[in-house]
């Protein structure tokens, strides 16, 4: 009887632990590990008391000032505001809907000149994977783009394609992420592996990305992504502010 009670208690504890795990944004360090620094971010925060972030993507709904958005740039801005209280944080998202990296390279200098960011979060690879661009060519163009950003005195964080279980049979993003990985290493810039992060959450039941309609997980997902990106920035630039979660 005692054994049964103990077993039941253990099972209950396990269930609550599992439930607790499923409500957090946590991922193992192996997925978010990063060894690259963000010197321009550190410089801007410590010396100028400001931080300007540009989120560049191909998502039509992800454009404008962070406060007008519902996706991760908004939550990233919110988290950075809370953690860097006396710093003037400005997060702006710019989208080039359905444009491939070739088109983005053409508009990048002008965009950097207009926004003058200290950090560019470059979400890339999805359009190129969907269109079947040669992954090696993609890697070469990504290097060119990163060079343009670094020359404009800004840091870069690369963000790869999302985990998208309903569409991932149509294209394989793996070779593009591998090329981003190579660029991140040769240029010593962080890569935020959004695909692995979301896959981890899906495998462990934190999220169900197959739902046909939004069941609230869209906001929760982007809040988690914004928090993890904020963690990455704080750590890589050695800023005070602690962890978000």
């Amino acid at each position: 009887m005692r054994a049964l009670v103990a077993a039941s208690a253990l099972l209950l504890l396990l269930c609550t632990q599992l439930r607790a795990a499923s409500e957090t944004c946590e991922v193992p360090n192996s997925i978010t590990e990063n060894y690259s620094r963000l010197p321009h971010v550190a410089q801007a925060v410590k010396h100028d008391n400001k931080l300007s972030v540009l989120v560049l993507s191909g998502v039509p709904s992800q454009t404008g000032t962070a406060s007008s958005l519902k996706n991760y740039p908004a939550y990233l801005a919110q988290s950075l505001h809370e953690r860097l209280k006396d710093v003037g944080v400005d997060v702006y998202a710019h989208a080039e809907p359905r444009k491939s990296i070739t088109d983005i390279l053409a508009v990048l200098p002008k965009l950097l000149d207009e926004r003058k960011p200290n950090l560019v979060i470059w979400q890339t690879g999805t359009v190129e994977a969907m269109r079947g661009m040669d992954p090696d060519l993609y890697g070469d163009k990504l290097v060119a783009g990163v060079d343009i950003i670094l020359k404009a005195n800004a840091d870069v964080i690369l963000v790869n394609q999302q985990y998208s279980p309903r569409t991932d049979f149509m294209f394989d993003g793996g070779p593009y992420t591998d090329n981003m990985r190579w660029v991140s290493q040769t240029k010593d810039i962080p890569l935020f592996n959004r695909y692995e992060v979301m896959k981890y959450w899906a495998d462990n039941g934190n999220f169900d990305f197959t739902a046909l309609r939004n069941d609230g997980s869209f906001e929760r997902l982007h809040r988690c992504l914004g928090g993890l990106l904020s963690d990455l920035i704080i750590r890589a630039a050695s800023l005070p502010g602690g962890l978000d979660r």
Binding site: G132, P165, F169, R181, W182, D203
Partner: protein, 385 residues
Amino acid sequence: MQPAAPPGRDLRLDFFRGLSLWFIFLDHVPSNLVAWLTVRNFGFSDASEIFVFISGYTATFVYGRVMRERGFIIGAARILKRAWQIYVAYVFLLVFYLAEIAYASRGFENPIYTEEFGIFEFFQKPDIVLIEALKLRFLPANVDVLPLYIVLMTLFPAALWFLLRWPNITLGASVVFYAAAHHFDWNLALYPYDHTWFFNPFAWQLLFVIGGWCALGGVKKIDAILRSRVVTALCIVFLIVAALYQLSWLSHGVTRRLPAWAMILPLDKSGLSLFRLCHFLALAILVIRFVPFDAPFLRSKWMRPLVLCGQNSLEIFCLGVFLSFSAHFILTEISTRIPMQFAVSFTGISIMVGVATIMTWYKDNERRGGKPPPASEQSLGGQTA
């Protein structure tokens, strides 16, 4: 223990082609944990190299004999008939692919999928997409190796004619062609973005021709060299280094310690990078060295599922692609979690084995014209290209 095939048949080809078909299926199920077991995670090359090499080998073995015995015209006609069969198989899979896309579009009401919505921009012109797909200018992701196979088989009559007369010169020409394709960036264009084929036929033809060269006795001529201790040791070292490289890719902490010149990953699969080619050849040399033609395990009942799949390669390849679409459907509709990934993987392979068994039984029956099999023979079908 029953023999899985008549004596004389090289079951190594069936065995490894079967294995590559299982791997291709597992790799095609999106985001599948079981795919971690496949060869691509432990070295530079993957199942595609095995499949293309063995296809070149068996095509030469089967049609080379026909061309020698019955002349160029008959041989070429047989090869083109096979190319046509592969084309029909490709169109068959295309239909399933389009159906799956139409179904997947339902999920686009969820804002999470805003990012992928662009996939449908070219489907707004289905008439053009279909025509381009039939012209092999629009290729679904998972069936890429079939269009490559179609192009290689269509051009194969001429290549085989040369191979049968001057095997070494033909192999040399194939190497030159491969190098030129790399140097001049030759590839076939795709609709609608002017991108190129994932499996560049100008590069991958080399592996097909190497397979053909081996089938015509090329390996026997250099057998002593291949079996030498130095070559064996070099191959083993190369495979170990490749495995370490591939596994190191899992961790930034490890790869960041590599000097810039040693950062060779990721390798170019489209153009069949030299590292991938060498890795496959090292694997093949070790197989020739350590797995004899008549290795008993190849005829054991435990290996029979693989051999059966390898003996019905085109059908099982197509079935594998179809099953990967079905697996994707089940994963998205029921659960994408890890237990379901295992379930669809093992169910898929069981179905592949079951269908291969029926195909072999059917072919065997057809060949005998409905007569009962002779007591001494438990044959499992003829060699297919």
